[in-house]
């Protein structure tokens, strides 16, 4: 492995999945990189002045603007290349789901539509975890969050999570893939493939959050694995419009196995909320069939 680009000089939680994603992506290329970081867990925990974890140049300015900020860096690069700049650079943006699905969606969409040469990596921990676990458009149905909590009259989030992959795919970009911290070789293969392509590329990586999903820190990879094995988080890619499922569980495990490790879903196991589990399962089944149809996979 070449020189370390992201060191342990960060203050992310023990058991946090985010550094797994950052290292996997950065170690997928030997090219020089310039990184953009949206406000969020990664930024707060890895860029503290005067230190920080980054051994490659990064820029952070705000929460919702990392996509256009990197578009500006990339435009500057094009200008310098025209006048003879020799070094070849890759541009990678890291943002959480809040910055991607919610507050930065318009700006992100603009960058996808305009075709900037950027790899955009969403570390999706399914909510505003840096601010203590508020709901986002990525929060799954039934989860208990601080802004849509479970209570006497509520079972938590009543809506389904947003399908960001389909939103991204609708921009007809060269490459979008869903990956998981449970399968690093798959994640690295996707990052490597994406980094070798041109134009806007998107990786959506599920990042279990010990603080707000509330599970035992040693279970991070297991929780991520169960998300895949239940079909809650399918591993697939969309390359130039073609859908490919990368992993098909022989027998999909029921969603309860994923839910029961996490306290954010504990209330769903109360009899009165059992309908929410049934809805979650039904939604996974439906989405799985839809995805298979797109991939031309039967069975």
């Amino acid at each position: 492995m070449s020189e370390q680009k992201f060191t342990s000089e960060h203050s992310l939680c023990q058991g946090c999945a985010v550094p797994i994603v950052v290292n996997a992506v950065l170690n997928s290329t030997d090219k020089q990189v310039v990184v953009g970081i949206a406000t969020g867990c990664l930024e707060v925990a890895s860029t503290q002045y005067p230190g920080g974890a980054w051994k490659v140049p990064y820029i952070h300015s705000l929460f919702e603007n990392i996509a256009p900020t990197m578009a500006g860096v990339e435009a500057a690069y094009k200008a310098l290349r025209k006048e003879g700049l020799k070094k070849e650079l890759k541009f990678i943006a890291f943002a959480g789901d809040g910055a991607t699905y919610d507050i930065g969606l318009q700006a992100f969409s603009g960058v996808l539509e305009r075709g900037h040469d950027i790899l955009y990596v969403c570390y999706d921990n399914e909510g505003y975890m840096n601010t203590g676990g508020q709901r986002s458009g990525a929060t799954p149905h039934g989860a208990n969050t601080t802004t849509q909590p479970a209570g006497k009259e509520s079972y938590g989030k009543t809506q389904q999570r947003k399908n960001i992959m389909e939103i991204v795919a609708a921009h007809n970009i060269p490459y979008a893939a869903q990956a998981s911290t449970a399968d690093i070789p798959d994640l690295m293969r996707k990052a490597r493939k994406a980094l070798e392509m041109k134009g806007p590329r998107f990786l959506n990586v599920l990042c279990p959050c010990i603080a707000n999903w509330k599970y035992d820190p040693k279970e991070t990879v297991n929780v991520a694995r169960l998300a895949v094995e239940t079909g809650f988080w399918p591993l697939y890619e969309i390359e130039n419009g073609n859908y490919i499922i990368n992993y098909q569980p022989k027998q999909r495990i029921r969603i309860e196995e994923f839910l029961k490790l996490q306290k954010r879903f504990a209330h769903l196991f109360n009899q009165k909320n059992s309908h929410a589990i049934a809805e979650l399962q039904a939604n996974i089944d439906r989405e799985w069939e839809r995805l298979k149809a797109k991939c031309g996979v039967s069975g």
């Binding site: 005067p50 700006a107 603009g110």
Partner: protein, 386 residues
């Protein structure tokens, strides 16, 4: 070389000559003709600029921040609610010490929605850490865009150059241009070796805790202080090329004036016409036209106004519930005068005019002067219906 051009076209010409590496465009009336004209230059191969037509003003300034942090020259332009939408990024740009130049074509803020001129947009970010230069006409907008670029890049401070929406941006005037090569020699090429793409790249925008944040902000304030003196020295250099002078403010029949108006932008032209007329009738009236609003030249204004008996400050925006922005600053400038003809701030009157594009006529200006000379309070809201 003289050409008949609108204020917006004059700025686009200045930008063409300054050769920014990246220009980011988003339409908003009345700024749009600047980026449209620039897009034509790109389409016709007159510039090599990378142009990004984005999906919002927030993204416009964000992309400019990215390009500037990368280490190259980057610009955009906006108006009104576009600037308001940018506000978050406006502060980030100055906090990061990025030498961005942004033309702002002044337009009223909503609500109610209105596309015409007042200064509520740029006054809304007067404390955001940008140099603010207000221009009387297309000539000043051209000259100050060139000056601003060198100033920004010498001090690591972003600069906003303001012109009045429609009144200046869409009116054709005779504008005197420098040759392309002269502008090129004056402004040079901007390459920051410590930019993200430089030979010695440094990261931009770390997370700062209470043990370092204050120092970042003190350094930002020091850069602004430097920008004040640099404004004059860069102005002197530009004067050698244009033959026009660039100071914090213009004094028009000020030295012997008994009553003066302090104002900014295109209205200064109307005031000059009124001063000329009233001077012919023996009335000792004058004008202080401010160009540099941030950093604010308190000391120099105090010096220039200390002899004046009566002052009306005309603002083109409110600061609701407080003295209007320029009025407040002029009062601040003069409050330290001891044993002068003022003694107190009582002779400094503040009036608001021209909101949402309401016209300000010569007669309105004469009324202000007449009131001052008669020892009376000028109209508080000039031209507003009762």
């Amino acid at each position: 070389m003289r050409q008949p051009l609108t204020g917006a076209e004059a700025v686009a010409e200045a930008m063409r000559q300054l050769k920014p590496d990246v220009v980011v465009a988003y339409p908003i009336t009345p700024q749009t003709p600047i980026v449209e004209k620039y897009a034509e230059f790109v389409a016709d191969g007159k510039v090599q600029t990378e142009m990004i037509p984005v999906e919002s003003e927030h993204s416009a300034l964000s992309a400019v921040v990215g390009a500037s942090a990368a280490g190259v020259r980057a610009m955009t332009a906006t108006s009104s609610v576009g600037l308001a939408l940018m506000w978050e990024v406006v502060n980030a740009a100055s906090g990061l010490g990025l030498p961005i130049v942004m033309n702002v074509v002044n337009r009223a803020l909503s609500a109610p929605i209105n596309i015409h001129c007042d200064h509520s947009d740029s006054m809304g970010c007067r404390d955001a850490g940008w140099v603010q230069i207000y221009c009387e006409n297309g000539q000043e907008a051209y000259d100050f865009t060139i000056l601003a670029t060198k100033l920004a890049e010498s001090c690591a401070v972003p600069v906003m150059v303001m012109q009045d929406g429609f009144i200046t941006s869409h009116s054709v005037e005779s504008v005197d241009f420098l040759d392309d090569h002269k502008v090129e020699a004056f402004a040079g090429k901007y390459r920051n070796p410590n930019g993200l793409l430089g030979d010695n790249p440094q990261s931009v925008g770390p997370f700062s805790l209470p043990n370092s944040f204050f120092e970042f902000k003190v350094r930002q304030e020091q850069r602004m202080e430097k920008a004040k003196s640099m404004f004059l020295s860069v102005g002197k250099e530009l004067e050698k090329l244009t033959g026009r002078t660039y100071s914090f403010f213009e004094e028009y029949h000020l030295k012997d004036a008994e009553a003066i108006i302090v104002t900014m932008s295109s209205t200064a032209g109307t005031v000059k016409a009124a001063v000329d007329k009233m001077r012919q009738n023996g009335k000792k009236v004058g004008l202080l036209k401010l160009n540099l609003f941030r950093p604010f030249p308190y000391r120099e204004i105090r010096e220039a106004l200390k002899h004046v008996k009566s002052i009306a400050v005309l603002d083109r925006s409110f600061s609701f519930g407080a003295n209007a922005p320029l009025h407040g600053e002029i009062t601040n400038s003069l409050c330290e005068i001891k044993n002068s003809v003022h003694g107190t701030a009582a002779n400094i009157h503040g009036s608001v005019f021209g909101l949402g594009g309401r016209d300000m006529f010569e007669k309105d200006v004469e009324n202000v002067f007449d009131a001052l000379l008669a020892g009376k309070e000028p109209e508080k809201f000039i031209g507003a219906k009762a």
